[in-house]
Structures are given as C-alpha cells and as structure tokens.
C-alpha cells in the first residue's frame, strides 16, 4: 500500500463497483453453485434435487473412468510440461548466444503463441489423418501400425505432440527473458572461470534460471490442465474409451453432454481444490521472487 493516498468516501466504491459486480455475478455465484450442487443429487431435467452429502464425491473417486482420466491428466501434463520446456530451453539458450539476427529468430519462434489451441488441434487432426495426413503415412512407413482412433497410446501421442507444439513458444519467451536478465558481469566472470560451455550452463546458468524455470513449470501445468481443452475436443474428444480425456474435459463431458450435474460439480470442486493448491505454491514462489 502507498503511503500517499487519497481520502474520498464514495469514489473508491464507484471505481471498484464494475469489477466487483462482474466477479460477484459471474464468479462467486457460479462457484458457490458448483459447491452447492456437488452435495446434491439432481434428476437430469432439474426438476427435483436432494441433499446427498459426500455421495457424489465418493462416486467420482471410486469411478474407473475418473481414475483413467486422472492418470491420463498426470502423464499428459508431465510430458507436455517437460517436453515443451526442454525444447524451449534449448532454443532460448541458442538464441541468447546469437547476436546477429536474434530479433528475426525471436519473432519466428514466438508467433505460435497466438494460435488458438482449437486451431492447432484441427491442423493436428489433419496431419495425423488416416487418408490425407503425412505424419500418419510417415509413422506407418516406420513400421508403427499407427491408429489414433483405436489405440489410446497413439491418440495420446497426437494430443501431446500438438499441445507441446503450441506451448514451446510461450516457454521460449520466458526462458529467453530469464537468460537475458542474468547480469553481464556474472556471465563474463563465468566465461573466464569455466571454459567448457556445457559445464558453464549446468553450474552457472541453470541455477540462476531456476526461479524462471519454476514459474514456467506452474504456467505449463495450468496450460496442460485447462487450455488444452480445445486440442482435445478437436482431436480426440477423449476417445478412445475416455483414454485421452483430461479432468477438465471430463467435467464438460459428464456435466454438459452427460447431464450428470452432481457428479460434474463434485469433479469441479475437486479441481478447484487442486488449483488452489497449485496457486498457493505459485504465490510462495512469487513472494520469494519479489525478495530476491
């Protein structure tokens, strides 16, 4: 808070009112609704509902489909985060080392940020298509009987690859910014002390980049959880057999397509708790970064 502040009785309320109203109507109300519905059993037409306590949660947690979806989300998020971060870090380190033409490389490596996940998903669908997709032909030619319609592994492979493709550029921006914020003097000192570029990277650059890295990791997990909805809906719709449905996609499937309000709300609440945990971690790291 500022030392110097205005004193005015009504003005601050007027200024904050639009934001508060929108948050109250479109955030607090639906979030409360989700929590309320997670304890209720409603018939599909919304005519009657009764309080069932934790039954919805018990049912969700005990369900095989939910377990499948949770495992897929875990593997999917871990792979998307790891692969896109590793690739972005490699590219950022190389771009950072280049003086001439750096801005051209920067533009070429960042524009994918602006492509919608759903658009990426559609192009991915075509690239892996059985009749017209060059990647499908290529994979078949290597002897892999590739079929994302029937095989969970193959379907997962396609959504992971497209999700990684979409995320590399965002990670690249952060890693490059992180690298360029390392003071020149530190870099020069490291250059004198350590001739071997690879060792210099491991012992000097990487530890200095760790806070950025952690922050990027949190962004990537959030991305894999929520923003990949468009990729999954356009590419696999959770098929085959729910094997590529992330937890968020399942909330949509069960609630909107399956009209199971109680179960879907219980899933929402579980996700809220997960995200809450993630945010607490993120804020801890943010605090640390501010004191850095």
């Amino acid at each position: 808070m500022k030392r110097q502040q205005f004193n005015h009785i009504t003005l601050p309320y007027l200024l904050i009112a639009p934001q508060l109203a929108i948050i109250a109507i479109f955030f607090v109300w639906p979030a409360a609704q989700a929590i309320y519905q997670s304890f209720m059993l409603e018939d599909p037409f919304g005519l009657a509902s009764q309080f069932v306590g934790l039954d919805n949660f018990r049912e969700v947690v005990a369900s095989d489909h939910y377990a499948t979806s949770a495992v897929f989300t875990l593997v999917f998020s871990a792979l998307v985060a790891f692969l896109s971060m590793a690739l972005a870090l490699l590219l950022a380190v190389k771009a950072d080392g280049i003086i001439h033409g750096q801005s051209a490389y920067k533009v070429m490596l960042t524009w994918v940020y602006a492509v919608a996940p759903a658009v990426a998903g559609m192009i991915g669908t075509f690239l892996f298509d059985r009749s017209i997709g060059p990647l499908n032909h290529f994979l078949n030619a290597t002897g892999w009987p590739f079929n994302p319609q029937l095989d969970v592994f193959d379907a997962s492979f396609t959504v992971i690859l497209v999700s990684v493709w979409k995320q590399v550029s965002v990670n690249f921006i952060y890693f490059l910014a992180g690298l360029q914020s390392i003071p020149r003097s530190v870099r020069e000192a490291a250059l004198i002390d350590c001739r071997d570029g690879f060792r210099r990277f491991w012992t000097v650059t990487l530890p200095l980049l760790a806070p950025t890295g952690f922050f990027v990791l949190v962004i990537n997990i959030t991305y894999a959880f929520f923003d990949t909805f468009g990729v999954i809906d356009t590419m696999t719709r959770g098929a085959p057999g729910g094997g590529t449905a992330t937890l968020v996609y399942k909330v949509y499937q069960d609630g909107f397509l399956g009209a199971d309000l109680g179960g879907s709300s219980a899933q929402s609440v579980i996700l809220m708790i997960l995200v809450l945990g993630l945010t607490v971690v993120q804020f801890r790291v943010l605090e640390k970064r501010i004191h850095y």
Binding site: F26, A116, F226
Partner: protein
C-alpha cells in the same frame, strides 16, 4: 566475445521449421481442390485454387441455418477479442486504482474477493456459469459471451503491480499542484501506463479471440458463432460430405489464426514486454 557456431543456427532453424511446417502445410493444402487432397494427401506446395477456396469460405453461407460465413464469424471474433480486451482494461484499471490509491473500509476485503477469481479458471465452473448466464437471459448475446470471461482479475493484478511501482513523489507533486483523484488518474497515471496498457491489450485480444469452450456452450444461434468455434462446426460437417472439404476447413483455420498472429508479430516488442513483466 561469443563465437557463433553454425550448429546453433542449425538448431534454431530446425526449431523454426518444427513450429512453421504445420501451418505451412495447412496453408499450402488450402489452395488445392478437395479431390487432390483426398487422392494425394496434404500438400507441401501451393495449388491454383487459392481464390476459389477462400472466397467460398469467406462469403458462401453454410451451417445449419445457411446464414453463417467466415466474414460474419470473423466479425464476431473481432467483437469478442476487442470487447474482452477493452472491457477488461477499463474495469481493471479502475479497480486497481481504487485498491492502490485509496484507503477505504472493506477495501482489503474487496481486494481478496477480486483476487480469489484468479484461482479458478472458467473451465472448472462452466456448468454453473452456463446456468447463471441462462437465468439472466444472456445466452446468444455479446454480453453473455464477453462478461463472464472478464470475471477474472488477471489484468487487475498486473495493473495493481504496476501502480505500486509508480514513485510516490509523483502523487505528492500532483497534489501540490492541486490535482484531485480524477485529474491524477486521467492526466498522470493513465499516460504513465500507456506501454503497460498496450501490452495487456495485445495479450488479452489474443486470449479473447482464441476462446473456444465458452462460446461453444453459450451460443446456439449461428449468427453469434466465432471463427474459432467455427472450427468445431466445420470438423463436424466433414463427415457428412462425399468428398470432405479439407481445403475449406484448412482455409478456415488459416483465417482464424491470422489476426492474432499478425497482432503478436507486429507488436512483438510490447507483447513480449507485457507477457514477461506482467506475469512475474
């Protein structure tokens, strides 16, 4: 000081190819006839049907009601992108100003309510959000499309951080010169945050334009379809055709990605600045 190795350039060029090739193939293939694509697969080089494909996608009415074309969908996306980014900037600059520059009862309570919205993306509360918008009679309207998406305080958080970094002496000096809260905001604080506003505008425009799940849920009237949700529509249509219109589907995806990509490439400097500074 640094010796540039050809290997570094090679890795960067491979990285660019990895990112560029899918879009390149999509664009090149969209200029062929659907028969060519069906027979020979996606194409690496351009065909002779650029204008035929794109004019058909842009101007010919399709969809269930035969009333929607890409021009209309692009307009809707523009309304969503601009409405979302401008709305968000107006609301959040005001709220952040109140939070940073005023001391008022319940101020910190409001602050926490607003920031609690950072915790939960729309995706986890889609069904109750849909019900609320439906109860308010806002389905199939721009208001219903835009307002629920604005209900997340990301931009407020960025502006709060920025205002807090503005030196106190500026306010002191403004007060000595007799500026009230309104004058200070309009004549001093907003001009100071010009770059920040530009950066947030670009990022939010892209976010708004690229929305997918929310528009799918709340627009059933085809005249409100955005170009990104048109993707879902055209993918569904593919199965019904004897010769799937792959070229048109790819043309639509190129049309859908072009505006946000142009914005990011043209305003590269501001965009990167905003992204990196705001999210730290």
């Amino acid at each position: 000081m640094k010796n540039v190795k050809p290997l570094d350039h090679l890795i960067l060029i491979l990285g660019i190819l990895f990112l560029l090739l899918p879009i390149w193939i999509a664009f090149a293939s969209s200029t062929h006839r659907p028969e060519t694509l069906l027979g020979e697969g996606l194409q690496l080089w351009f065909g002779d049907y650029f204008w035929e494909t794109y004019s058909a996608v842009l101007f010919e009415n399709t969809g269930f009601t035969e009333q929607v074309n890409a021009v209309l969908m692009l307009q809707n996306s523009m309304v969503l992108g601009l409405g979302f980014s401008i709305g968000k900037i107006i609301i959040s600059t005001l709220a952040a100003y109140a939070i940073v520059y005023f001391r008022f009862p319940a101020g910190s309570f409001f602050f926490w309510i607003i920031f609690s919205s950072l915790l939960l993306p729309l995706e986890v509360r889609i069904i109750p959000s849909y019900e609320v918008v439906s109860d308010l009679g806002m389905l199939n309207s721009y208001t219903g499309l835009i307002l629920p998406l604005i209900a997340s305080a990301t931009a407020t958080f960025f502006f709060r951080q920025f205002y807090k970094s503005v030196p106190e002496e500026i306010l002191e000096a403004a007060r000595i010169d007799g500026a009230g809260p309104f004058r200070f905001f309009v004549d001093i604080l907003l001009p100071l945050s010009k770059t920040m506003i530009a950066a947030i505008f670009i990022i939010m425009f892209v976010v708004g334009w690229n929305q997918y799940l929310w528009p799918i849920l709340m627009t059933t009237d085809e005249s409100y379809f955005t170009v990104v949700m048109g993707i879902k529509q055209i993918l569904n249509d593919l199965e019904g055709n004897r010769i799937p219109q792959y070229n048109k589907a790819l043309a639509l995806s190129i049309l859908a990605l072009l505006p946000p990509v142009m914005v990011v490439v043209i305003f590269q400097r501001w965009f990167v600045k905003g992204l990196v500074e705001s999210e730290k």
